[in-house]
């Protein structure tokens, strides 16, 4: 078994317009930057994206937005992307904002065969509008549905050709859970190792969830707070 593909371009070559795509990362930390760059080259459109954030103007998913590829987005925080804010206020992009923990758990449920679950989060807010609520014990809860995707694009630190993955520091974030919730999970790794080299006790994502592995060609890894400061000409 060998899940390694030769390039990021090859890894995303068959993703269709209109697909639902999960993208790992928190802000610009732990995003699949090489897979995003390859996807932007393909210029497919009408994508439904699920990701905690939306990159920033000029990097990460911000590039997909600028290329007009995204029709709808589910996330928890998009405050660092002014272009997105403009598109949403003009009604040109369908944005659904949901609590970050609910987003993570909806994805977990999707990968774990749980169709829906109750949480206390968002009760009495717009997040609960139109959703079933129920009292369990002393407290009221909101019913939240699982999320699935056609494709998950994720980023790991090291992986082997079987798709076993480990992550580095806070670049882990949404990557492992998204790996479980898509029909086609594609991972980019900084370092490809031989099966057996990763300590089996330390593997975070077992290879069963992963279909394709690609070594990222180049990592820019900008730090978001500094990237934005630089964009603003050193002000603020």
């Amino acid at each position: 078994m060998d899940k390694v593909v030769p390039s990021a371009d090859a890894a995303v070559a068959d993703i269709a317009s209109g697909s639902t795509i999960m993208l790992g990362g928190f802000g610009l930390c732990g995003i699949p930057e090489n897979l995003i760059a390859a996807l932007v080259k393909r210029r497919i459109t009408g994508l439904h994206t699920i990701s905690n954030n939306m990159g920033v103007d000029g990097f990460g998913m911000g590039l997909m937005l600028e290329a007009g590829m995204i029709a709808s987005h589910i996330g928890s925080y998009v405050g660092e992307n002014r272009r997105l804010e403009q598109l949403v206020l003009k009604g040109e992009l369908d944005l659904t904002l949901i609590p970050q923990g609910t987003l993570a758990e909806r994805i977990r449920a999707g990968g774990a065969g749980i169709p829906a679950f109750y949480v206390p989060t968002g009760l009495g807010t717009v997040v609960a509008e139109g959703k079933e609520t129920r009292q369990i014990g002393e407290r009221m809860y909101v019913l939240e549905q699982a999320l699935h995707a056609d494709v998950a694009l994720i980023k790991a630190w090291k992986g082997d050709r079987l798709g076993n993955l480990v992550y580095r520091k806070t670049a882990r974030n949404f990557n492992p859970v998204m790996a479980t919730a898509a029909k086609l999970t594609i991972v980019e790794v900084e370092e490809l190792v031989e099966p057996g080299e990763l300590d089996p006790d330390h593997i975070v994502t077992p290879g069963i969830y992963v279909k394709r592995v690609v070594v990222g060609e180049m990592y820019r890894k900008p730090i978001e707070s500094e990237f934005i400061r630089a964009q603003m000409g050193g002000a603020a």
């Binding site: 928890s76 968002g122 520091k169």
Partner: protein, 218 residues
């Protein structure tokens, strides 16, 4: 000492040894710098870390190591990393002793609004709704009024809510306000002002605690 520093220093005194605490972006993050001696607190960052340390020195930032504000941080000995769904399981599951957040509005019932201004600002709630639903104690840390001098502590929030009846305490540069089933109770005032002045700068009705004290910062 400016108002924000006074708020941060006062809240730092509220931490008990052994607390696990999540600090929101902005003013709440400042609190970590004012921990009293002898008090060990573990800071959680909801992007997946316990044991968050101070910002790195110039040139030492690691892009794989950031806090929830996407700013570079460092590791403290004994820190741990985990994924987002586990991070929020510990938040939702009631394992955080305290959550300190900023706010745009808070009201007499302890309702909180801090994530959107319809038609004007699209940012998102991030982890705020999960934190206020799950933390054992929720403290709002904010400047008492808006830049235009409007009250942020209202009879009823007008902006979309982050949570209903979730706030336990409100701390501003003017004082400490407890949210009780009977309404808001002013328990501490900043040095040099009195309860009447705090009320004059607050839309919500404030009851004054019989034990009203001066809010000392350290």
């Amino acid at each position: 000492m400016n108002g924000k520093e006074r708020i941060a220093r006062r809240i730092a005194r509220e931490f008990k040894d052994g607390f696990y605490v999540n600090l929101g972006i902005g003013l709440p993050t400042m609190i970590a710098g004012y921990l009293p001696p002898g008090i060990d607190v573990v800071f959680q960052s909801e992007n997946g870390m316990l044991g968050v340390g101070a910002p790195p020195t110039e040139g030492q930032a690691d892009p794989d190591l950031v806090n929830a504000g996407k700013q570079p941080v460092t590791e403290l000995p004994g820190c741990s990393y985990f994924a987002s769904e586990e991070s929020f399981a510990m938040i939702r599951g009631g394992h955080m002793d305290m959550s300190v957040l900023g706010a745009m509005q808070v009201d007499e019932q302890g309702n909180l609004a801090n994530w959107t201004i319809p038609g004007k600002m699209v940012k998102g709630m991030g982890g705020a709704m999960d934190l206020v639903a799950g933390a054992r104690r929720v403290i709002v840390a904010m400047e008492h009024q808006t830049k235009d001098g409007a009250s942020r502590i209202l009879k009823a929030c007008s902006l979309p809510l982050t949570g209903t009846r979730v706030v336990h305490d409100i701390v501003t540069e003017l004082g400490w306000i407890r949210v009780t089933p009977d309404g808001l109770v002013l328990t501490e005032v900043a040095e040099g002002i009195d309860a009447a002045e705090v009320q004059a700068r607050t839309e919500a009705k404030l009851m004054v605690s019989p034990d009203l004290r001066v809010m000392t910062a350290s």
